[in-house]
Amino acid sequence: MSIAEVTQNTHTVVQEDEETVTTRVDEILASYTGVKAELIPILQQVQQAFGYLPEEAMSRIAQFVEVPECTVFGVATFYAQFKLVPTGRNIIKVCRGTGCYVKGAPRILEETEKILGIKDGETTPDLEYTLETVACFGSCALAPVMVVNDKVYGSMTTDKVKKILDRKGRH
């Protein structure tokens, strides 16, 4: 499956209607004053609420901090944390740090990709899983490391990947 297909699929499933997005964004904005320095924290909080940055939310934020929409888009696309498309309910992150790399991270990623049927950066069509790689979790002494939602799993093997993902109800 191509990334485009995945993206298309996911978008139709969870797209919030414009009104809901605006209401929720306004709720978030209420605790800010509207200066440019707040842009990144606002984007972070909005992403936390929706799992990604809906387009309407970004225009609303642009008005609020009084910058052109392209500036908000520029910031949102610069930082790896921000997603412009919806992500899965479970976020699986495989570390590609050096410590993990020399201890076999590429095989952990391969195995995860194989089990989930998606590549790094993609989301399963049922919106259950998003697979990401992360530069380093800073848990290098336990390399290779994988993080499922916020739980860190250390000393990973391909067998452990199977077990962890099985427990999440997937084969």
Binding site: Y79, T98, F137, C140, A141, V152
Partner: protein
């Protein structure tokens, strides 16, 4: 309440805890402890204490650095030294509670070591073990010893005494003290900290800023995370001291969002400081006022660069700008700004507490003090270490680290992350300090230290780092944006068997261009992994290019697998496991890998029973195996 009263209360709390007559159990619950299973251990511990009706204080501490032994617990019984137990499982934890806490058997068979006054027969002293003996813990002084969520623990161990002293000094005296200590920036560049402060202090302006750079982005490095999780006040006190010396009233901590626990610990610490009058207006009753805000990074490696970091705090894309003007003249919102790294700040608070002379007594002439490193990769004892500058690399890898596991040979050590280099065995007896690492083509960097054995291909490692820097290049400078891409393309070619004569020279030429044509250190140092691997492991590049051979058997395109017909017993395990269905065989038949179908995933090698060990991995030589399955018995 003034500081003296707070301190008195902290001391009396601390002493009450020491003399409570109850056992104290310290458990490491930093991110790595939790990942290793500390939460399960904690649960078992609570259950077992309850079941056996034992009253004990459980204290959750930060990382003591023995990551290889996580989950790790220290049990301190009244009148006894603390006993460390490592690699715990819930079952072992339950056993230890029964044997040592309900009875008096400290289980020397399970104990790692003791610390504190007194000895226990059969258990070595922890700090006499090879892993800890060469270490000097300054930035990590409290990590693993105190509860990082309790400011009283920090204060009872000398915390904020440096600050209270500083507030009685003139700002210039504070700067002079830091200068005398010889402390250099621990974030990577090694610029003298006192001098940096002086520049910012001398800059005209009433509004100045202090920034703590906690955007620890080097893959393979976690020193700053450990300090922030295990002893946040050490860093915060350092920031207060710096702010006072420079004349700043506002500070920022720029921390990567990948460190949720560290962020949480910082927030708790800031709240407690405010309550104790150690943050806000008129700190410790003086005229000094200071406020700190936390800014979470959003996942951009380049934001570790100071001008990019400031752009990010201001709400912009994190792109570096040219210097001058330096942040000391024109930083955040155009105001004089001083940025130091987490470890530097933690060192500052120790220096102002114990004196510059004490700090400068460690290290070498030009590299004073200690440095933390995250020792990871192919080494027996992975962990977080702090050593005096100038210690020989061999002592770190073989002494502290215990050497290379599985009887393999040392091949390289990578220091300084993507900005650093890979050093060969010839460097093992050189001292680890700013100067000697630089002369070897690498850098001290923030402190990542990744050990590699014979199973690592150095060309592949160079490719790995270039993939990283190429991805993280902000795109502002063309030499960095496209130069790293071109270099990566060449390296991809080499590892895929498409290397050509002249590729090495081309890489060297591009390296120069990228170094010279980039504004910031990301581009300026991006070629280092390539340059050092060419310098120390040129033969590996040549083997890939001219012989299409990967000596470490790593590069997929250059390796083949086959089944040794002498050894195969026809069990069929490999054929069933092969995801590409590339293995032909049958019951009691010598199995055969169809080379054109094989995806080189290595599954057959993993699953072939050790008693047969029939799957062979080769590179650069022809496959010598039958092309069709034959009966096992017909081999002879």
């Amino acid at each position: 309440m003034n500081f003296e009263e707070i301190k008195k209360q902290a001391m009396s709390n601390w002493e009450a805890m020491q003399n409570s007559g109850k056992a104290r159990i310290l458990i490491g619950t930093g991110t790595c402890g939790i990942a290793a299973g500390a939460e399960d251990i904690l649960e078992t511990l609570r259950e077992e204490l309850g079941k056996n009706s034992i009253e004990a204080d459980i204290i959750q501490v930060g990382c003591i650095g023995l990551c290889y032994a996580e989950p790790l617990v220290e049990i301190v019984k009244p009148g006894m030294p603390g006993v460390f137990y490592g690699n715990l499982t819930p079952e072992l934890m339950a056993e230890i509670v029964r044997d040592y806490l309900t009875a008096d058997n400290p289980r020397p068979d399970l104990a790692l070591g003791t610390r504190g006054e007194g000895t226990i027969n059969g258990i070595p002293r922890l700090f006499d073990l090879p892993v800890l003996k060469p270490q000097v813990r300054i930035a990590l002084r409290n990590c693993g010893n105190i509860d990082p969520t309790d400011i009283h623990h920090y204060i009872a161990n000398g915390g904020y005494e440096g600050l209270s002293e500083v507030l009685r000094m003139k700002p210039q005296e504070v700067i002079d003290e830091v200068k005398k200590s010889g402390l250099r920036g621990r974030g990577g560049a090694g610029f003298p900290t006192g001098l940096k402060w002086q520049f910012c202090h001398d800059s005209p302006g009433t509004q100045k800023y202090i920034v703590c750079n906690a955007d620890e982005g080097d893959p393979g490095a976690f020193m700053d995370r450990a300090v922030l999780e295990g002893d946040p006040h050490a860093v915060l006190e350092g920031m207060l001291i710096g702010a006072y010396a420079i004349g700043a009233s506002e500070g920022y901590i720029y921390i990567r969002a990948e460190y949720p626990l560290a962020i949480q610990r910082l927030r708790t610490a800031l709240e407690q400081m405010e309550k104790c009058g150690l943050l806000g207006d008129n700190i410790m009753g003086s005229s000094f006022s200071f406020h700190i805000k936390i800014k979470e990074g959003a996942g951009a490696f380049v934001c570790g660069e100071e001008t990019a970091l400031m752009a990010s705090i201001e709400g912009n894309r994190g792109m570096p700008r040219s210097r001058p003007p330096f942040p000391a003249q024109s930083g955040l919102w155009g105001k004089p700004t001083n940025i130091n790294n987490v470890e530097t700040w933690a060192d500052v608070s120790a220096i102002l507490q114990k004196g510059s002379g004490w700090y400068a007594s460690y290290g070498t002439e030009k590299s004073k003090g200690t440095k933390t490193f995250s020792l990871v990769g192919k080494v027996m004892r992975t962990g977080l270490i702090e050593v005096p500058m100038g210690i020989p690399m061999r002592e770190i890898i073989y002494g502290i680290g215990g050497g290379i596991p599985d009887g393999k040979n040392f091949k390289a050590v990578q220091t300084g992350g993507p900005s650093g280099g890979c050093l060969s065995a010839s460097f093992l007896d050189s001292p680890v300090d700013y100067e000697s690492l630089a002369s070897a083509g690498s850098i001290v960097g923030s402190g990542g230290m990744v050990v590699m054995d014979e199973d690592s291909c150095m060309v592949d490692v160079a490719r790995y780092f270039l993939t990283f820097t190429q991805l993280e290049s902000c795109g502002k400078c063309i030499q960095c944006r496209w130069g790293t891409k071109q270099m990566l393309d060449i390296l991809e070619d080499i590892v895929s068997g498409r290397g050509r004569d002249g590729d090495i020279e081309l890489l060297l030429e591009l390296s120069e261009a990228v170094k010279n044509g980039s504004l910031c250190a990301l581009g300026g140092t991006a070629p280092n992994p390539v340059l050092t691997t060419i310098r120390y492991f040129r033969d590996e590049y040549e083997a890939h290019i001219s012989e299409k051979r990967c000596p470490a058997l790593v590069c997929k395109a250059l390796v083949s697998y086959y089944i040794d017909s002498e050894k195969c017993q026809g069990c069929g395990i490999c054929a069933r496991a092969c995801p590409a269905e590339a293995i032909k065989g049958g019951k009691r038949m010598v199995h055969v890998i169809e080379q054109d179908k094989c995806t080189k995933c290595g599954t057959c090698l993993d699953v072939c029973p050790a008693k047969f060990s029939a799957v062979v991995k080769i590179s650069g030589e022809p496959v010598v195996a039958p092309t069709e399955p034959v009966p096992v018995d017909s081999k002879a």
